[in-house]
Amino acid sequence: MFTRRLVLLVALTMLAGAVLPASSMTIAAPVPPLAACITGAFSTEEDFMAREKIPFDGNPYVSDGDMLSFDGQVCMRNAHLLAAWFAAAPGPDLGLDALDILNIGDVAQPTIAFSTELDDPAARFTAGDLLFTPGYAIPNIALLHPFGINYDIGLDGVQFIGSQDKILTFVAALANTPRSEFLKNPGLLQQLLRRYGVDIWFTVEGTARIVGAIQILDGDLLSAANGVIVAAQSALLPASVPAGLPTRGVDFGLDAVATSRNAEAALASLNFSTEILYDGTELSFTDGDVLRMGNGVVIKHWELIKLFYPAADFLGLDALAVGETLPPMCENQITDLGGLQVDVADINAAGRGEIGYPTDHPFGASIPFWGTICNDVNRFRVVFRKHADGPGAGTGIPVLLAEGWKVKTRNLITGACTDSAFWFSDANGWYNGPTYRSLLFCNPNLILTNWKSASAPDPNALYRVWLEFDRGAGVETEPAPHLARLDNTQPKINNLGIPGGACTTFSSSDMPIMVQGDVSDDHFWYYRLSIGGDLYAEHYYNVVRYYDAVPGAAHLNAAGTTPLATLVDLHTVTVFDLAANPVRCAYGVRLWAADRTIEGYFNPPFNLVGGYFRTPTSQAIYFDYAP
């Protein structure tokens, strides 16, 4: 055992140096920041380049086989995980498909359970085997043996259940049980698990039909100790999602699992991700989001990866581990922004909010900020900086006394929230921290500040915004800025046409007539046509969004009509939508064009904050109708 530990330690040290550029080899080998993953870790589906914050070894390349922390660090390279099998020289990157951090308290001797995406080139393990950093391997067929499956169907997620002591004792016992032993006697694993009072919950890559009617889906959570389905696919997702076969209709897969080691609490607190996304009316999620059993999204994918500052806001999620208990902490941060109070987790890499529509939304007019100010903060402010200007100092966002912002306060005698007071920042946007916290009692949703974005240096640009705070030792900032894309420009209807042009006289045989339009906006969303005339009630046609699969959207994209500066067909209208026998008269067709901007409003005297989607722009064209 000691020899194994020594080999692992030496290998880890060698590898830490091996992943460095050659020119750095003479410098002491960088040590992987394992402690950063004490609260949990994950891996992505694809490789990417980390930006702004370079990993411990100086290499910005992040592989889908690396173990990543929630605070933007590479805790272990893939080669570190596999060090025990490649002691002589760094091995190839084999990916990281399942992960459970069993013990990283001892940095020199971490115990991590995992699986790879690819087989070992030397055939010592397959991508379906459960591996352990000390160099142990449990073959896939041993995990599946209790289910009567005798072939490798992959390993997608893993979670150990039981006390940490028992789990580590079980892992230590593997030192005397080589992989070949499990292959000869696959039932041995179940015996060992029962002997040590632990279980391995896991998910597989493939679907298997067992003798009889039982079927294992790759979306089911399985128990290696008991040979049962711990949680069927249908139980994992809310009833509104068609999850489970055959009854509800779809197997969404189960790609990553992580939960408590306590068997009683484990199911209720099960975190997982799926293999495919779902775009439903009540719930939507991507295959990179962290979901909670029966409860939908608990961590948006961007929240996991944002501290790596990748060039795309989605990288997939292949493996996930969470610590037994997260240390209690208060984090000074912006949590929401914009008139519709968009969670910062719902803001993508383009600075636009994703709030359930199949598109995203910039911000305009008033942009309020919500957040957390911890007890030790003396003062705070929200600042902005144009993204194109790169890193640098931000400009504070003030709300001055002159704006008359009034908030509720407690009556000194009764303690009730019946009084009011003015609340404001200084000219640089700094607010008093203790006062802000005290105001939360009577104003629980009190904003941090409000940004009149139309007066920003560029009212239509992408900005970084972040919280600055002072706890007595100088100004500190949030770990990462947030992005906010401004749009303070209405959509433009450049042209509107009907056959023959305005004032043409149409007869009943000309109906319906095609309406053409030329619309542009950086964040175009939809158009709508209406027809009216005489005393008839105006008839509105269906809204046509740029992403709708309808003929009326054929010439639309996210920036308006296409091609640019060209009248294109929208859809037809007819006077017969107004009445069965419309009278001879002048009629009008109106085009409404809307962008996706969330416009906020802030009424300081009443401390009212809200928002809406920007009101559409409209333009009309008129014609005569003679039956």
Partner: protein, 338 residues
């Protein structure tokens, strides 16, 4: 001169034999394969079809089944694997429909899982006529020396030559490929065909060129046919290290002529920029979405609009008259006879 007279008919006969009925996909053939003449694909996950019931009466569609236009189930996974009589569903990760014929159908593909009997790996190139080309053999010209998986697959060359190549490949055992991986390039050169493919894994230390799982590779040339960065519109940050992200390449289709502009593909991960796409959409090289995943799967009337896309074949040579065998054969036969 006399020798030419004797050799030419012999070579001609040999060529005709090669073009004749080749080893088929089991005794039943692939009766529904013609429905995949123009398009074939597989999903990432299993689902229940609420559309017309498939010919075998089973409405459950596996991620290992070969699907086509108009809710066609062109081949169940077990039919694709009939040459090996594999019972479990092993998934379908890459596909190319070489001949979409009920009796003489020929499909090249890869699975998600290894053969339970150990005869092939999930990264190997398989064909319905029983060929197994090991993954390391596909990568032999890249000098990788290990299995990187097989995610996308497309043959280029004249169809009859591809058929001839695959018939020749079916005669070579897997262990023979492994013992002599160089014979793949020899065969590809002989039949003037190429295998374009993408991998599951990345190998930055490859001796020839770094391999990203988002590149289109050539087995014959040992080169990157299309770089990840060139597959996607410039607005997507595709390509490492310059643009920042490897989006992967999960499914691949193109014309038999190997015209780069005809390439269609899907990625491993979605992109939410402009133009956005999901990992289930069919994308056109450099041009974004051509067909959305929901449009692809809609005829099956699934209960979800997205089911992913793992394997893809599109007939992108509709006007090419490849079936005029004789002039081609005569030309080559006479050349060989000389």
């Amino acid at each position: 001169m006399r020798r030419h007279v004797h050799l030419a008919p012999m070579v001609l006969m040999l060529c005709l034999l090669l073009l004749g009925p080749h080893a088929q996909a089991g005794p039943q053939g692939l009766p529904n394969l013609p429905a995949c003449k123009d398009l074939a694909f597989s999903t990432e996950e299993d689902f229940l079809s609420q559309g017309p019931t498939p010919p075998d009466g089973n409405p459950i569609i596996s991620d290992g089944d070969l699907l086509g236009l108009n809710h066609a189930v062109c081949a169940r996974n077990r039919e694709l694997l009939a040459s090996w009589q594999v019972q479990p569903d092993l998934g379908l990760d890459a596909v190319d429909v070489v001949i979409a014929d009920a009796q003489r159908g020929l499909v090249a593909f890869s699975t998600e899982l290894d053969d339970p009997a150990g005869r092939f790996k999930a990264g190997d190139l398989l064909t319905t006529n029983g060929a197994i080309i090991p993954n390391v053999t596909l990568l032999s010209r890249f000098q990788v020396g290990r299995d990187l998986g097989l995610d996308g697959l497309h043959f280029t060359g004249a169809p009859q030559q591809i058929v001839a190549f695959l018939d020749a490949a079916a005669k070579i055992r897997r262990d023979e490929w492994l013992a002599n991986p160089g014979q793949l390039v020899t065969l590809l050169n002989r039949y003037e065909v190429d295998i374009w493919f993408s991998t599951e894994g990345t190998e930055l230390q490859a001796a020839v060129t770094p391999i990203l799982d988002g590149h289109v590779l050539s087995a014959r040339l040992g080169a990157v046919v299309v770089n990840q960065a060139d597959l996607l519109p410039v607005t997507a940050p595709a390509g490492i290290p310059n643009r920042g992200v490897d989006f992967g390449l999960d499914a691949l289709a193109a014309s038999r002529r190997g015209t780069l502009e005809t390439i269609r593909f899907s990625t491993e991960i979605l992109f939410r920029g402009t133009p956005g796409f999901t990992d289930g959409d069919v994308l056109k090289k450099g041009d974004g979405i051509e067909t959305t995943n929901s449009a692809l799967v809609a005829p099956f009337e699934p209960k979800a609009r997205f089911l992913g896309l793992d394997a893809l074949y599109i007939n992108l040579d509709p006007a090419v008259n490849w079936d005029r065998y004789l002039p081609y054969i005569l030309k080559h036969a006479l050349r060989l006879a000389e």
